[in-house]
Symmetry: C2
């Protein structure tokens, strides 16, 4: 931990030099966690070439000592974190031109920089730390792999328990319990359990709809381990699949297989998206695949890079991305099959090891 934190801080300091800023004010908690290990929900961080100043509130006094130790100067602020900032920032002599996170600072707090912080020169920055986070180190990949193991083990417990008569909410509860029993420390997002025609809604939540024989049941969920997320989708059929269900399923499965075996670091996000999309289009279902192929995941369940028709950036070595093609038809249902894939220098490694055969349950 200590070594990786030091490496990350060094990499950030190189970026500060490249951007010609003396310091960076961090307000995004996942970025703060990446740099310091702090897992709480209230913090400001200032990094300069010489110093690292961490400000939180009294609720985290004990936790901060455990998680951060002497890696940063710690300020426990009894009132507002901003009070702590204006009190301590003048004591960092080298900080004159200070970057801030333009995508993670609300207008109200930006006004604080212009008023209480008017003696500094503020420079909006986009994605400085997010860029670093895109390439995962070995330790991070191991944590995502453990989150993936938790998710797939939970799924193995849940699949045999799905049957007609259960509501989607009840299935979500069974799944959430299995995730906890396998060691998930938090849900990266509320599990999606979408059955029958609701499987056609790419962002359905679980509802009180009762599962019926013949339904598709789409399960999209994740686990979290030491801050790192997994994200997996499987779609099964309750009872025997119809020919049409099987046909659609097989197209999505093949699109998933092609993309997750062919995706490579160095390729653009657009090229990765095309791997799956061109196959689905050739099979005549392009218009029914209405979302992007995937996204990066790590400390957040949606982070850089994007695998999408408009994503021109090249995928970095070390990224972990989802591959999640789908076909959706309003009123009928839908299929999505999603895996998490690590893009190592030598090729892709699938972290979510769970059958992609069409499962017929109950």
């Amino acid at each position: 931990m200590s070594d990786s934190r030091r490496r990350r801080l060094d990499a950030l300091r190189e970026r500060l030099s490249a951007e010609k800023i003396d310091a960076l004010l961090l307000t995004a908690l996942p970025n703060i966690r990446y740099l310091t290990g702090f897992s709480g929900s209230s913090a400001l961080l200032i990094a300069t070439q010489a110093d690292i100043l961490f400000i939180t509130d009294f609720r985290y006094e004990i936790q901060v000592a455990e998680e951060i130790g002497d890696f940063a100067d710690i300020v426990i602020e009894p009132t507002s974190l901003w009070t702590g900032l204006w009190d301590r920032l003048p004591r960092l002599p080298s900080a004159e031109v200070v970057g801030f996170e333009s995508a993670h600072l609300v207008h109200r707090d930006f006004q604080r920089l212009l008023s209480e912080g008017s003696r500094w020169q503020w420079r909006p920055q986009l994605g400085l730390v997010e860029d670093l986070r895109e390439s995962k180190d070995e330790g991070e990949v191991a944590l995502i792999a453990e989150a993936a193991r938790i998710a797939t083990s939970a799924l193995a417990r849940v699949v045999p328990m799905i049957h007609p008569g259960l509501s989607e909410l009840e299935v979500a509860g069974i799944l959430e319990k299995a995730l906890r029993d396998e060691g998930s420390q938090e849900a990266p997002f509320p599990p999606i359990v979408a059955s029958g025609p609701r499987a056609a809604l790419p962002h359905a939540r679980a509802s009180n709809r009762i599962i019926e024989r013949g339904d598709f049941v789409l399960l999209d969920f994740g686990a979290q381990f030491n801050g790192y997320c997994s994200d997996i989708t499987r779609t099964l059929v309750v009872g025997a699949a119809t020919d049409e269900q099987r046909e659609i399923y097989d197209i999505v499965r093949e699109a998933n297989r092609i993309a997750s075996s062919s995706v490579r670091a160095g390729m653009t996000g657009m090229a990765a998206d095309t791997l799956a999309r061109s196959y689905i289009e050739r099979r005549g279902h392009g218009a029914e695949f209405g979302h992007s192929l995937g996204h990066g995941l790590g400390l957040e369940v949606h982070e850089a890079p994007r695998l999408a028709r408009t994503a021109e950036a090249a995928l970095k070595v070390g990224a972990v991305v989802t591959i999640e093609p789908g076909i959706y038809r309003a009123g009928w249902g839908g299929v999505r099959i999603e895996d998490d894939v690590h893009l190592s220098a030598t090729g892709p490694t699938i972290l979510t090891n769970f059958s992609r055969e069409l499962l017929e349950v109950a």
Copy 2:
């Protein structure tokens, strides 16, 4: 629903007039949900005296038709919501001076207002819709009461299942399943399950710590029903309580009782906080009650008003607030007892009906 939406929109329009703005751009999803009923995760809303324009992306096309219908002009935007805004805003002729939500617009998007939106005059606004949300109508109170019923019914299932040897994570899983079985549509926040010395951490999450005989187990969690949240905490003892555990518990229970029976609309948040705090101080534990007494809840689990030493605003008729005194001692443990209370014109009504006796389980 339709009537309450109309009432809310009328109230907002009065606020626009009072603030001398022609329109308000909304970016906060709970505020958008309050005004329109939309429960998705991607939307912009513009309200003028004459029009209401709702912009979302293709994922929500079906959902928007169900939830919003013809209450607003709906734009399904294939690329960025902002593209839709700059395309449609010029067609709202009365909108020249436009407010935006200063606490809910990040700097990057604020820059869009200044560049692509430079032909409008932008005015930062704080809390326009949040103020309206503070007083709940009858329908909203009924939804919070249902979320409270779900939470207390789930707790009744879980308490008898807690025993030494379970991990906090396993208890969280049992609780999450019970919440789903009772009909919770989402967790307002990840349940806190904190046992033994971890009960001293006011913002602990569930961990892999194994529960032991003699432990306090603090459970702080909520349910959600049609968007509305509940939030409850109970602290129990595994095995027989010691005299010291019972003494601390009884002080917190009495502080909870005093505050939840005496809190009134019209009182300041500070005066409400004092109801519990002065009792805990008189009993000699003021320094161990390190957080505020409570907060409002509704579409968000933390919203206005605050019940805190620094809260000068008067509590409004119709607010629903938590009453959650606690005593925490590092290394030993802690007790918190939290209820949800509706402040009607005639006095407080407790919505979380669950025993406040010290429960000794297993």
